[in-house]
């Protein structure tokens, strides 16, 4: 090795992409060093520049300025040699879906020049490590998301590279597989001394890394061990509650007060990050408040860093729930009994029962493919059920689907916006589509532009908007007709934590105004913002209840304070143990 002890080193790395006449800077003078023999996390939201950095490191892109060296070789000039010695797993690993597990392995073994004599032992080792041994004959396309990721990892590891680049290996993967992937990575580092650079948008994964590089909008925020990031917050993180006040109302009171960096609904209390050690005086002065100090998390540190660059907009979300919502109190608005949906012989939804009350935030939590989106589409009347009863806003969906649809808003995973219409045109279109006309339409559009701060982007095409703004626009469109029930399908996947907070602030305001909200998510921490949760896997609901109650299901002597993820894993694995 060279004099430097870094296995990957970037200096002044800059890369911009041009689409049409727009130039986007993906990386802006990034310098960083990755230490050998540990896991380094490259952490940031979508669009931060993580994938661009990985591709530059693998020699798949050439930088505009600066240099990057991997394993002591210049990744740009010596790209073939670099590619021959490192392992790189792209975000969507290129598995050939019509080839079996064994055939995919054989292809990549051929391509990486693994000697035929070494193969049987290496295959066996990798299949054992990834738990794929029973499925070697199965087509890769028939594997679950988690299994595909593990097979991709196995293909990358065939030649045991010294440096492993993993681009968001855990995105969209169920918590059980996520844990297994991390176990594999940790074993490689400890057992084989491999160096790993892993990118992720999940802030909770940062704590598993030996070192983290925080990246935001193409710039490095900070680099160091994760403990150093949270250590700065010692004495600044609090769990706050007040008897007789709903956590959501308390959150609205606390958010944006002087001295409060971050406030977050978390289960039955509000999590607070103070600007300085100790409870902010302004908060301490509030009567009847019970505050208890809690250990800081990595996410708190990340938010703290972001807020220093980008102060919070101190404005209360102003949401009206529409006339209908203000009416009846705690009535049941969604009632689902024995819901089934089959696609061919695949049971996407396999006997789901749900009851959601007015003004509730109800979360459906599950991995990709658990049946969340299918359930949603049935509830919105977009897809007929194969069997079962569905009542939404008191209307039977089988008979009055369109009447029910007029009273619901739906925001889909991909933000169904017209990319080649600008913001104002999108708003006008959706207002017209929901049957708003004349003064009412103008009033609602004006409300949306003001409430979602869209004015400065009004003339921009939706496709060119930053992700956070796309999400705002999509939500504005879904709220055009003052729906009394709002369906949000994976609304925050990929957006940065600040945008996610702003989003939840609006959701809270809507719920307080009486709108019922159903949300699907695979972010475990996000599920804590919900009043009640249903945990879904393989088309079934495993448990329903308040977040605290669900967490309690996993409480054991060894783990007295389980996280929602622990609870999820315990629930998913329970039937397997019983069988």
């Amino acid at each position: 090795m060279t004099a430097s002890d870094a296995i990957l080193e970037a200096a002044g790395l800059t890369k911009a992409f041009a689409t049409g006449d727009r130039r986007t800077v993906a990386l802006d003078a990034v310098s960083l060093r990755v230490r050998p023999g540990v896991v380094t996390g490259l952490i940031g939201p979508d669009g931060a520049g993580k994938t661009t950095f990985m591709r530059l490191a693998a020699g798949l892109l050439a930088p505009d300025a600066g240099r990057i060296a991997a394993l002591g070789l210049d990744a740009t000039r010596d790209s073939l040699r670099v590619q021959a010695s490192l392992g790189y797993m792209p975000q969507r690993f290129g598995l050939y879906e019509d080839l079996s597990v064994a055939e995919n392995l054989a292809l990549y073994a051929d391509l990486q020049g693994v000697a035929p004599a070494e193969r049987p032992a290496r295959y066996a080792e990798l299949m054992h490590m990834t738990g794929l041994a029973p499925f070697t004959k199965r087509l890769a396309g028939r594997l679950s998301g988690g299994m595909k990721q593990k097979l991709g990892l196995a293909c990358t590891l065939l030649r045991a590279p010294r440096l492993l680049l993993l681009d968001e290996p855990t995105v969209g993967v169920d918590p059980v597989s996520r844990r297994e992937l991390w176990a594999i990575v940790e074993r490689l580092v400890r057992g084989e001394g491999m160096s790993v650079l892993l990118s992720t948008a999940y802030l909770d994964e940062a704590e598993r890394c030996a070192e983290v590089v925080m990246i935001h909008e193409g710039r490095i925020l900070e680099q160091g061990p994760p403990s150093a990031v949270s250590a700065r917050l010692a004495g600044r993180t609090w769990a706050v509650a007040r008897a007789g006040t709903r956590h959501r109302d308390l959150h609205a009171e606390l958010d944006g007060r002087p001295g409060v960096v971050d406030a977050l609904v978390q289960g039955e209390h509000v999590r607070l990050v103070a600007a300085a050690p100790g409870l902010p005086p302004d908060v301490a002065a509030m009567p009847g408040l019970a505050a208890r100090e809690v250990p800081p998390r990595f996410e708190d540190g990340f938010i703290d860093l972001l807020r220093q660059r980008q102060p919070a907009v101190a404005r209360a979300a102003r949401m009206d729930g529409g006339a209908a919502a203000a009416g009846a109190a705690d009535g049941v608005v969604i009632e689902v009994k024995g819901l089934h949906r089959r696609f061919g012989d695949f049971r996407a939804v396999d006997g789901v029962d749900l009851t959601v009350r007015r003004g509730e935030i109800f979360g459906l939590l599950g991995a990709n493919g658990a049946g969340k989106t299918t359930t949603f589409r049935i509830l919105c009347g977009l897809l007929p059920a194969s069997a079962g009863q569905v009542e939404v806003a008191g209307l039977d969906l089988r008979r009055a689907a369109s009447a029910a649809r007029a009273r619901i808003g739906y925001m889909s995973q991909k933000f169904s916006l017209y990319g080649n219409l600008d913001v104002a045109q999108n708003l006008a279109f959706f207002a017209a589509a929901y049957g708003l006309a004349g003064a009412e339409r103008a009033a609602r559009i004006a409300w949306a532009v003001e409430e979602f701060a869209l004015a400065e982007h009004a003339g921009q095409l939706a496709v060119d908007l930053p992700l956070g703004y796309k999400q705002r626009l999509a939500m504005a469109c879904a709220l055009m007709h003052r729906p009394e029930i709002l369906f949000l399908d994976e609304p925050t996947s990929g957006v940065d934590p600040l945008a996610r907070r702003e989003f939840w602030k609006r959701i809270n305001a809507l719920a307080r105004a009486g709108v019922t909200i159903l949300v699907t998510t695979h972010f475990m921490e996000e599920a804590e913002y919900c009043d009640r949760l249903a945990i879904m896997a393989a088309g079934r609901i495993l448990a329903t209840g308040e977040p605290a109650a669900i967490k309690a299901l996993a409480r054991t002597a060894a783990n007295p304070e389980p996280s929602l993820e622990d609870a999820f894993i315990a629930l998913v694995e329970r039937p397997a143990e019983a069988a």
């Binding site: 020699g59 798949l60 892109l61 790209s79 690993f93 290129g94 019509d98 080839l99 051929d110 391509l111």
Partner: protein
């Protein structure tokens, strides 16, 4: 160095095996490579015909006469027409307007009288010009039938027919004048364009879409090896399509193959390389299957269909369009296959066209090779 070459062979073998497994397992590849040819051949072999057969015509006699009936009877006997009698010219015109018939043959009232005069007797032929091709055919056939009838009548009366020129037509290469005989060989070019250009452009774009290209790029495999893998696999598939088409042409549609099969094989291989080169060139530009498919249809398939001389004679096109046909690869190959099937090994046709194919194949493959770098931007 020898180790590196061994590695290259291993990589290439791996890539080829992958391509074949994918072809075998992907129903759409099989459909384009084998079902499309069968469908196109059946369509053009049985369905589309440029010959006039059973053309509906109306026969009108203004006044019944023996001579008139005799002439009309001669039209009834031919396989070219499906005649029907109309009571009056007005009815016949109605049938023509409704599209029930494509032409009218009218024998006027003074036909028997004027037949005996020196100036000769008139027969009126009205054709629907909507389909110009059929119109010309009807006209030609009726004229022929008229001449034949006059000659036969003269012979019956022991006279020489008063025709100034005695035309004795003799058709070369396609004695029966079956349009099938030149359509079916031309189809080989169309089918190989489909497999070579369309299918190849699609499967390359699919690698980009599914993210497999990025994974291939970070392996030690070079872009040349990836391209050779695709080229090899689809060359074999295209040859299969060619053999299938030739076999169906010869044994099912009984199109004569007068030239050498091996010359056909060699020229097909050249054309296939050019088609594959076009497909790969498209895929270096279009990285989504949708765009690649559109571009391949517009830039390769449609020109092969319309501008290659497969159906429409290049000599009859306006000079500008004729000039454009020189960049249509299929044009050179259609000339070769039609010659090989119907005329034989005419080297004066084969050599220059094959040379053009070789140049175009080399050009497209060179563009592809230069354009593909192991870089994502």
């Amino acid at each position: 160095m020898s180790a590196a070459r061994g590695g290259s062979a291993m990589r290439l073998r791996g890539l080829l095996r992958k391509e074949f497994l994918q072809i075998v397992r992907d129903p759409s590849s099989i459909a384009i490579a084998f079902l499309m040819p069968v469908f196109l051949l059946a369509l053009f072999g049985y369905g589309v015909s440029l010959d006039a057969e059973d053309v509906p015509i109306a026969l009108v006699q203004d006044a019944p006469s023996r001579d008139g009936a005799d002439f009309l009877a001669s039209l009834r006997g031919t396989p070219s027409f499906a005649p029907r009698d109309a009571a009056s010219m007005a009815e016949a015109e109605r049938l023509l307007r409704e599209g029930t018939v494509s032409g009218i043959v009218r024998v006027p009232a003074d036909f028997p009288r004027r037949l005996r005069e020196a100036s000769g007797a008139p027969v009126q032929v009205v054709v629907s010009g909507v389909d110009a091709n059929t119109a010309r055919l009807v006209q030609g056939y009726v004229e022929g039938a008229w001449g034949n009838w006059l000659a036969a009548r003269a012979a019956r009366q022991g006279q020489e027919a008063a025709t100034p020129v005695d035309l004795q037509p003799r058709t070369w290469f396609n004695g029966e004048l079956r349009s099938r005989n030149y359509l079916v060989p031309g189809l080989v070019a169309i089918i190989m364009t489909l497999i070579g250009a369309l299918l190849t452009a699609l499967v390359m774009a699919r690698e980009w879409e599914r993210g497999t290209m990025e994974a291939l790029m970070v392996t030690p495999a070079s872009m040349t090896e990836v391209l050779l893998g695709k080229l090899g696999a689809y060359f074999v598939l295209g040859t299969g399509g060619m053999l299938l088409s030739v076999a169906m042409a010869v044994w099912l549609f009984e199109v004569p193959l007068r030239g050498s099969f091996w010359v056909l094989w060699a020229c097909s291989s050249l054309f296939l390389l050019a088609a594959l080169g076009m497909g790969l060139t498209i895929s270096t530009l279009a990285r989504s299957q949708f765009v690649a498919g559109q571009v391949a249809i517009i830039a390769t398939f449609l020109p092969a269909f319309l501008l290659s001389g497969f159906i429409f004679d290049i000599g009859a096109m306006p000079p500008v369009v004729q000039a454009i046909t020189h960049v249509v690869v299929a044009r050179y190959f259609v000339a070769i296959v039609q010659t090989l099937f119907l005329a034989g090994d005419v080297w004066a046709v084969i050599v220059p066209n094959a040379a053009a194919l070789a140049i175009m194949a080399a050009a497209f493959l060179a563009i592809t090779w230069r354009k593909s770098r192991k870089r994502l931007d």
